[in-house]
Amino acid sequence: MLQNIINFVTKFKEYLTFIALVILSYSLITIGNTQQISGFRAVMIVMNAWIQNSLSWIPNPAAIKNENKALRDLNLQLSDEVSKLRTASVENERLRKMLKFRDTTTTDMITAEIIGRNSIDLKNYITINKGSNSGIAKGMPVRTDAGLVGLVIGCSANYSLIELLNNNTTKVSAVIERTGINGIFAWDGGENFTINNIPSSFDVKKGDIVTTSNYSNLFPANIPIGVIDKVDKSSSTIFYNIKIKTLANLKTIEEVFVIKYIPNEERNQLLEAIENKMMEKRKVK
């Protein structure tokens, strides 16, 4: 009997090993990311940043071309904006005095320079030259003057890794500024972004600005994210198919601001507890 078992194991050792390792891998996926490896990951961030820093002299023609195009567009847009701003500035001054409106730009921010870009299997990250020594922590939102860019997912003493918006796992609770309609902002896997679950009976127009909403636990409210580029009303569904372009050009950014905002821990814990309960219920079913 024992000999038969040994013969069986020897004969099918590849298949048995394969099945065992598949089960082990699947279990690891189910467990998810553990805190125990965060130290090792921090070391990898430093190494990666160091390699990218030392290779930063290599010109990237595609990036330069993109940057030139973006700069030309921006230049045109800015010259138009400057004339508008002159008028707006005078008007703003007058209105501020009238309403005794206090300056609301009190958010604490850390300026950082991008020293590396990674695109691994369509997950897009940037590495910046500031880390926990500058007060940056995991979970802080990142933006440019134009709009939201992403979220800090890991940091070492002098470097941080930022997950950009064009990432399949990034989802932002967003609101259409003009109408106050809420939805979930996500990447569509290509050049555009989308905002899901907005019924086609709602008022949505091309050119509407999308910002972070009050419902978001990861980002503070009212950070501009993008502008609606296309609104399609499909006959097969009751929801709009909305295409959004981000206000910050994710391909050409060179400097970012890390917002010193840590999501509410209690709210996070509550959400996590509910998610775990739901997962357990699903498993039982």
Partner: protein, 176 residues
Amino acid sequence: MKYDLESNAEKLSRKKLLIYPLLAIILGLTQISIINFLEIGNVSPNLMIILIVWITIREGQFVALYSAFLIGIFYDIIKMDVIGTNALSLLITAFVSGFFYKEGKAELIIRSFKFLIIVMIGAIFHNIIYYFLYLKISSISFWNFFLKYGIASSFYTTVFSFFPIFLSFRKRSTHI
């Protein structure tokens, strides 16, 4: 004489024990920091697939399965991916390419176009599994995404598998 042969085999396996992890570390770091210079339209080659197919053809399915799992875990850690995703997809690559293993004919396979075909098949299986896991949690359609990026990435990886063939030829000419 027998003793000498055994000690040579031991030395060789000890050497391999060092070479494979070292290669995995070097290629892993290259993949996450340098390979994006070679990116075309968001698609880049996957050096880890080539490494796994190479190990499979040289060592056979059994050794390759363990190597793929360990290298996959290492790659998940440095890539900031969910632990287990690359381990699983590289495991599938090793399992599939293991069927092409022929004892004593590793060099012949690596020096032929067969190696490219094995890498292509391994890469397609890897991408099906990886993108399936990767897209499961998102609202992106699997087939659109796989046809757009998965196939292109498999082709690009296959193109890169010319390097081991080239290196293998160079090694042979050095011996001559």
